[in-house]
């Protein structure tokens, strides 16, 4: 297992390197440059040229890339033009906020999705199944930014139960209950779509499993139905659900971009959006690199868990 993980991690290096090349050149190709973004209407060719020189952007593109890569190998991610602070500080701070949000959402959607899927499979075509299916359908179809605004309107503006935005209270707070209060709305919003997807797949997988011979055997030998479902059926169904959760983890990370903007969550998604619009090359590079590395790790983790559950894959 250890050599398998090591091999996968090694294989990820060229992927990440390739990604940085692509991002670097896409950023260089989109029109506009950091100097124009900083100067705005004051961007005369003369001012732009001077600022680009100050920022070290007057060198050839390939040279710029290798300077960046060289610094990276020394652990130096560079300095953000727009924020005037080290890229690594900003990226790590932002990414941990995203991880908290996406992690909570992932736990939420896994639990709820599995539960809903199992229940609706066991009660196939019953009322519970129909209601769960309907709710899941609505959940999958609602644009998450819209749902987010709706939740803010109801729970923050009308009922004033929960804060509308941010990660921590502006004064006081700073403890776990404070964080949880701020997490509820964005994490739920973020979890909705993935919950739907997981629920639907769990349902299908469960229905498939419930038709298998070993389930009939289990029932025939007089096991209580609860045990049949929980011990035999769910475990078998999980094998095909886990990779989906792994993929959903990626989507949840991606979806965080909108949600972070709506809820003003200080995460890496909203940071990247802003960094792109200000042409903050180094910040985009640093952010993408960290997110991509996380993506690779999630997929690897999903595969490892799957191998542990399903002996056939070992």
């Amino acid at each position: 297992m250890a050599s398998y993980i090591a091999k996968r991690l090694l294989a990820a290096i060229p992927v990440l390197l390739g990604l940085t090349v692509i991002v670097f050149f896409i950023m260089a190709m989109i029109p506009g440059d950091p100097a124009t973004a900083i100067l705005g209407t004051y961007a005369t060719p003369e001012n732009v040229e001077k600022l680009n020189r100050d920022l070290g952007l007057d060198k050839p593109l390939v040279q710029q890339y290798f300077i960046w890569l060289g610094n990276l190998l020394h652990g130096d991610f560079g300095r953000s033009f727009a924020l005037n602070r080290p890229v690594l500080d900003e990226v790590l701070e932002r990414f941990s906020a995203t991880l908290i949000l996406a992690g909570t959402a992932l736990v939420l959607c896994s639990i709820l999705g599995l539960l809903a899927g199992v229940v609706s499979a066991v009660r196939q075509f019953g009322w519970t199944d129909r209601i769960v299916t309907l709710v899941v359908l609505v959940g999958i179809s609602t644009p998450s930014f819209f749902l987010g605004l709706l939740l803010i309107l109801v729970f923050a503006v009308k009922l004033q139960w929960l804060p509308a935005s941010g990660m921590w209270a502006i004064y006081g707070g700073g403890d776990l209950p404070d964080l949880l209060r701020h997490l509820i709305l964005p994490a739920s919003t973020l979890a909705v779509v993935a919950t739907g997807v997981i629920a639907r797949l769990t349902r299908t997988a469960m229905l498939e499993v419930l038709r298998q011979d070993f389930i009939r055997t289990a029932r025939a030998k007089g096991l209580p139905e609860r045990k049949v479902i929980m011990k035999h059926a769910v475990k078998a169904a999980l094998v095909s659900v886990i990779p989906v959760i792994g993929i959903q983890a990626g989507f949840v990370l991606g979806g965080a971009v909108y949600i972070e903007t709506v809820f003003q969550w200080p995460g890496i998604g909203s940071m990247l959006v802003k960094a792109i619009s200000t042409r903050d090359l180094l910040l985009v590079q640093g952010g993408v690199l960290v997110v991509a590395a996380a993506y690779v790790l999630f997929n690897l983790a999903a595969d490892v868990v799957q191998t542990m559950i399903d002996p056939r894959l070992r």
Partner: protein
């Protein structure tokens, strides 16, 4: 199971226990900003959003008088200008200290300007300083005595005083720059009414009362600036009680605050112009009649009332009325007269040639550019012009427009916000300001009389004389119509009704020195 339930109930009750968590405490003002500041080093920023914080943490040698764009003493008590307008000598206020405890004096002033202007200064690398060209006329800065500083300019430059009141002219503590280097922008120190306390990335910037402020300690204990980029979220946060002041309220939402006694809506027109650059070098707009036709064709009243929903007023000429001393009151906006526009087109022999119109999707001061572009296209098509809209993302747009419209487009949206009546016409209307000469005259307007007026206005240090020159320039430019003059932005803000003595300034700075919030 029961134990889990009990724990859950306990956790929930803890979370909801502070029912009033969204209420802000007395004497602490929470301001909803549109974005996180880039830096708190005033020499490195260009966005109004950042100025809103910095104006309360720093002072300049001079500042804008309350409610105007005219300068008055601040860190300098008085000044003299040499007869030829090239030497400015400032007498500095005695006993002023930076927040870090060091003295404000002539050496500190020299450090500030040398840092920005001298590439060999040891702390020039704390830049880049994008607005340093505000002081490009400065040749040297000399310390005469500890409380007297002298600026030598390479030529008379009338906007100099006004530029000193703007952000690049704010005084930072040399000791703090020396200690912090590039990180000064995150650990700022000035002389202002509020001292920097804390900056939590993408969450808040906190400044606290400077008890020793030379102009009297402010009533507020602290101000907390929160960046909330999404306008809808900002409104929700205002409605749920998490903000005391919110700036740049979207036009759609102003009414809901106006109709509610718990809030006050504040508005202020500023030195901003929203206009269309016309390409005079080629195509239909090379003919003055067609340019005037375009000015008559736009229903500007409908644009500001329906699309901008009253957040702007109709512009008459190239200078915004906020520059009260330099504005030509005799100027009337081009009236909405499609018949006259059609007649002018016919006179000019316009044959329905296609007109390319650059529109942007956002950008500083651009208000609602896509909707505006669509409405303008419709107005022009109503008089028989064939308009083809091309929309670009802001940075791309600037990259296309600033180098000049020749060979690309016939007209383009643009907006400018400036601090002196000199800036926009000088940089965007003179023959010497064509893009190939480093200016912003992207439509290639050229009128020797306007050039002369603007050059003279810049040299004169007598405000009354400058005013006369600017007023004459406005009349000529309006008649020549190198632009379509559309709107002047009215900045707005919403405050809780408990916030007292809050005003918006024509400079668009957010001055909080006198504001209070007793409950």
């Amino acid at each position: 199971m029961k134990r889990i339930l009990a724990a859950a109930v306990a956790a929930l009750s803890l979370m909801f226990s502070q029912a009033a968590f969204s209420q802000t405490p007395p004497n602490v003002l929470v301001v909803g900003q549109i974005a996180e500041p880039k830096s708190m080093d005033p020499a490195t920023v260009t966005a109004v959003n950042d100025f809103r914080i910095l104006m309360n943490v720093y002072d300049g040698l001079v500042r804008y008088k309350d409610g105007t764009l005219e300068v008055e003493p601040s860190l300098a008590e008085s000044w003299t200008i040499s007869d030829d307008g090239t030497v400015y000598t400032f007498k500095l206020r005695d006993g002023v200290k930076f927040h870090d405890g060091t003295d404000f004096n002539a050496e500190a002033v020299k450090f500030n300007f040398d840092r920005i202007l001298d590439e060999n200064h040891p702390f020039h690398d704390t830049g880049p300083f994008p607005l340093s060209f505000y002081f490009s006329a400065v040749e040297d800065v000399n310390v005469v005595d500890p409380l007297t500083i002298e600026f030598r300019l390479d030529a008379p430059y009338a906007p100099f005083l006004s530029n000193l009141a703007y952000t690049p002219g704010l005084m930072v503590s040399p000791a703090a720059v020396e200690a912090q280097g590039k990180d000064f922008g995150r650990n700022p120190s000035g002389t202002g009414a509020f001292k920097f306390a804390e900056w939590e990335a993408n969450s808040k910037v906190v400044v606290v009362r400077n008890e020793e402020y030379w102009d009297g300690a402010p009533p507020l204990e602290a101000v907390i600036y929160r960046p909330i980029t999404d306008a809808n979220t900002r409104i929700a946060e205002m409605l749920s009680g998490g903000l005391d002041i919110m700036v740049e309220v979207p036009p759609d939402s102003l009414a809901q605050f106006r109709d509610n006694d718990s809030y006050k809506v504040v508005e202020q027109a500023g030195p901003h112009l929203w206009f269309l650059i016309l390409n005079l070098k080629e195509g239909p707009f090379a003919d003055k009649k067609v340019r005037q036709a375009a000015n008559y064709a736009l229903n500007k009243k409908a644009l500001v009332e329906n699309i901008l929903q009253g957040t702007a007023q109709v512009a008459a000429g190239p200078t915004p009325p906020a520059f009260a001393w330099a504005y030509n009151d005799a100027l009337e906006p081009y009236p909405y007269d499609p018949e006259k526009a059609k007649a002018l087109l016919a006179e000019a022999g316009y044959d329905g040639e296609e007109v390319t119109f650059y529109v942007t999707d956002g950008g500083s001061g651009m208000l609602d550019p896509v909707a505006m572009g669509t409405a303008i296209q419709a107005d022009l098509e109503a008089i028989g012009m064939n308009v083809n809209v091309e929309t670009y993302e802001w940075n791309t747009f600037l990259g296309k427009v600033n180098p000049g419209l020749e060979g690309k487009a016939d007209m383009a949206e643009m907006a400018w916000m400036t601090n002196d009546p000199d800036t926009l016409p000088f940089l965007a209307l003179r023959s010497e300001a064509w893009p190939d000469k480093g200016g912003f005259n992207s439509g290639y307007y050229s009128n020797p009389k306007v050039d002369e007026l603007l050059n003279n206005a810049r040299k004169s240090t007598d405000q009354a004389e400058r005013a006369k020159l600017y007023q004459e320039m406005q009349t000529i430019v309006q008649e020549d119509a190198p632009w379509v003059f559309v709107a002047n932005w009215k900045q707005n803000a919403v405050t809780k009704s408990s916030v007292e003595d809050f005003k918006l300034q024509p400079s668009f700075f957010l001055m909080l020195q006198k504001v209070s919030k007793p409950q």
